[in-house]
């Protein structure tokens, strides 16, 4: 066994002791990357610009359950004990608010000028396999359709992704059943696996291989590689949630009149949290924001959610007036019609929608209820 992942470019896997990890930061800085990693803020892990290993949530672990997120100090030296926070990689590329155009009044009416984002090299440390899968889906939407979205593309090009293979599953994780993790298979530049006091480092791209060679690490032993692989496998085995995809999309299309939708919509608050934390949700609206002079206006896109009143609004009527309509729209799109649209599920199994739902709605449980007896419940 020579690799932890399956598509590593460099055949060698390097090994780095925890105490040497700052070298990693120094090399990224020397290559003019802004480094972003998880930090503890307001009781959760959130992405922040960091400079030192000590900025990472060393010794912290997250515990996630339906409707519950807690961090605890374990007193260990573990660097990547926190699996994830509410943010995936989505906000780096498909930003919550992206100015599209600056429009100014002119003699000829108006002049519209694009406002592309600044090109910036950003190294993200700590992305998980589910996050990589989410980013691949976002790439497909924004870069591989009829139009390539230039705003997204500029941000995407600057990303250098340092993934972390998961060695601990949360209560809410189900990436194994979505075939997206817990091992980072592709879409990363470097992938780390934390084993005891050491970090195994493998490259997944040319840029990653270059950085790996600049680190001039000693090669990992077979024993260390086997140990890392075993921990990732154990993480996969330990997942308690799963999502049965075998009869999708049809089973969910068939469940349109299932009484379970009434049940779940009685609990759902339509708060849109699930769509905000989802690594793949891409709905957005366009906002026109004129300044006080009314001579200039900014045309920007903002994240939208199918749980809002306005989402299904069309001149004088609402296609989805009830929470039941909206929950059904979200879940049917995510797990069923996404397959027809993009050839892949819209769910990567990260479990964020379960954790960050204020009432703890669990989509794996909802799906199981909806498809188990859907045929008998059809109207």
């Amino acid at each position: 066994m020579r690799e932890i992942g399956v598509t590593a470019v460099a055949s060698e896997i390097g090994i780095l002791s925890r105490s040497d990890f700052q070298r990693f930061f120094d090399i990224l800085c020397s290559k003019e990357y802004r480094i972003v990693g998880p930090t503890v803020r307001d009781g959760a892990a959130v992405w922040e610009t960091i400079r030192h290993v000590s900025d990472l949530p060393i010794g912290w672990r997250d515990h996630q359950e339906p409707g519950r997120y807690r961090l605890e100090q374990t007193g260990s030296k573990e660097i990547f004990g926190v699996v994830h926070g509410p943010q995936s990689l989505k906000p780096f590329v498909f930003t919550p608010r992206e100015p599209l155009l600056q429009i100014e009044r002119s003699r000829d009416g108006f002049i519209a000028r694009p406002t592309p984002p600044q090109r910036e090299k950003v190294a993200v440390i700590g992305a998980r396999a589910c996050d990589l899968a989410g980013l691949t889906i976002q790439d497909q939407i924004f870069l591989q359709g009829e139009y390539q979205d230039g705003y997204y593309a500029t941000r995407r090009e600057g990303l250098f992704i340092i993934a972390v293979n998961c060695t601990r599953a949360l209560q809410t994780c189900f990436c194994t059943s979505m075939d997206t993790g817990p091992r980072a298979k592709n879409g990363f530049d470097l992938a780390l696996t934390e084993v005891g006091d050491q970090l195994l480092v493998e490259a997944g791209s040319e840029a990653g291989a270059e950085l790996l060679s600049a680190l001039s690490l000693s090669p990992a032993t077979h024993k260390a590689i086997a140990e890392a692989a075993a921990r990732v496998d154990a993480c996969a085995q330990s997942q308690v949630r799963r999502l049965d995809r075998t009869r999708l999309p049809q089973a969910l299309y068939d469940a349109h009149e299932h009484p379970r939708w009434d049940d779940v919509s009685a609990r759902c608050l339509a708060c849109a949290n699930c769509t905000m934390v989802c690594p793949t949700c891409f709905c957005h609206k366009v906002e026109e924001a004129p300044d006080l002079t009314r001579q200039r206006t900014e045309h920007a896109r903002l994240w939208d959610s199918c749980f809002t009143q306005e989402h299904g609004h069309i001149h004088g009527k609402n296609i989805r007036p009830t929470i039941k309509d909206r929950y059904r729209m979200w879940m049917t799109h995510k797990l069923a019609s996404w397959l027809d649209q993009f050839g892949t599920s819209g769910c990567v199994g990260c479990g964020r929608c379960i954790t960050w739902c204020p009432v703890g709605i669990d989509l794996t449980e909802e799906l199981a209820s909806l498809v188990s007896s859907s045929s008998s419940a059809r109207a």
């Binding site: 599209l100 009416g109 108006f110 939407i141 359709g145 009829e146 891409f282 957005h284 366009v286």
Partner: protein, 287 residues
């Protein structure tokens, strides 16, 4: 400006908006106006190509954008026609504008009517209310190529006679060879000399050769859901029936997610859709 296949869209930035001057504002009904627009940039104007049934995102400075079908003749590229009902935030503000003022245009977007496929066939056009707007360009296009098409039947329904738009056009179309115009109103006044009732009643008044007919439909979804089964009973297959559908649209390029109907994004897969494809989704509550 990069123009792609007659689109006014810079492929690298489909969000870019192009100013257009209102050269004529026509009052069609109490809250409905047709705006004739001329793109300010000459190069853009000369290269703008669209097919009947496509739409533009129409923009008003400081207010926003709204998806509106193009009613003008695809052969006439000097100006663009949009019939707009004042009903929402953007359209109410647009209704206040006068000739000489500026709107913005992004487009054209979506799939238009299959007028090539309709060649050699009889065409039945069924519309209700403002649903007649997206077919105006198609009718003009076919009449200009009259010998390429079989009989043309324009069947249109309105609530009240005051809701009838395009009086002159309907009048002119009805005088063309092998072209019939049938109108219905279910709340008529004493001046109404056409059918009293709903548009689907008129199906009984037309001869249809089901094997040679293509149907183009646009109007309230309830009209399509009730009307299509009647036409299918007359022997027209669902694959020969095309409907133009409407959903909330913010981007026009299949990215913003609002216009989904089952697996389709109506802004890019539609708005014109073959009926058999959308039949499973129409009438489903909340879809």
């Amino acid at each position: 400006m990069h123009v792609h296949e007659g689109k006014l869209i810079d492929m690298a930035n489909p969000y870019l908006i192009h100013p257009a001057t209102i050269i004529e504002k026509i009052r069609e009904a109490e809250d409905i106006h047709t705006f004739r627009l001329r793109l300010n940039d000459e190069k853009a104007r000369r290269s703008f190509r669209f097919t009947a049934g496509q739409f533009n995102m129409v923009y008003l400075f400081g207010v926003g954008e709204v998806a509106i079908s193009i009613i003008s003749d695809p052969d006439e590229s000097e100006s663009l026609g949009h019939t707009i009902r004042s009903v929402g935030r953007v359209t109410s503000a647009v209704a206040q504008l006068q000739a000489g003022e500026t709107l913005g245009i992004r487009g054209p977007f979506g799939q238009g009517w299959p007028l090539d496929e309709a060649c050699g066939r009889n065409v039945v056009i069924v519309t209700g209310g403002l649903g007649c707007a997206p077919v105006v360009g198609a009718i003009e296009y076919m009449l200009r190529r009259r010998r390429h098409y079989g009989s043309i039947k324009v069947i249109h329904g309105v609530k009240t006679p005051r809701d009838l738009l395009y009086h002159e056009r309907f009048e002119t179309w009805g005088k063309q060879a092998d072209t019939e115009v049938l109108l219905a109103s279910n709340r008529p006044d004493e001046t109404w000399r056409h059918h009293v009732g709903v548009v689907t009643d008129l199906f009984e008044h037309v001869l249809i050769d089901p094997a040679k007919t293509m149907v183009l439909m646009c109007g309230p979804e309830i009209m399509m859901r009730l009307g299509v089964p009647i036409l299918m009973k007359r022997g027209i297959p669902a694959t020969a029936i095309y409907v133009s559908l409407e959903r909330h649209m913010e981007c026009g390029i299949g990215l913003c997610g609002h216009c989904q109907l089952g697996p389709y994004f109506l802004c890019k897969d539609g708005p014109v859709m073959r009926y058999d494809l959308v039949e499973p989704w129409l009438g489903r509550v909340g879809v």
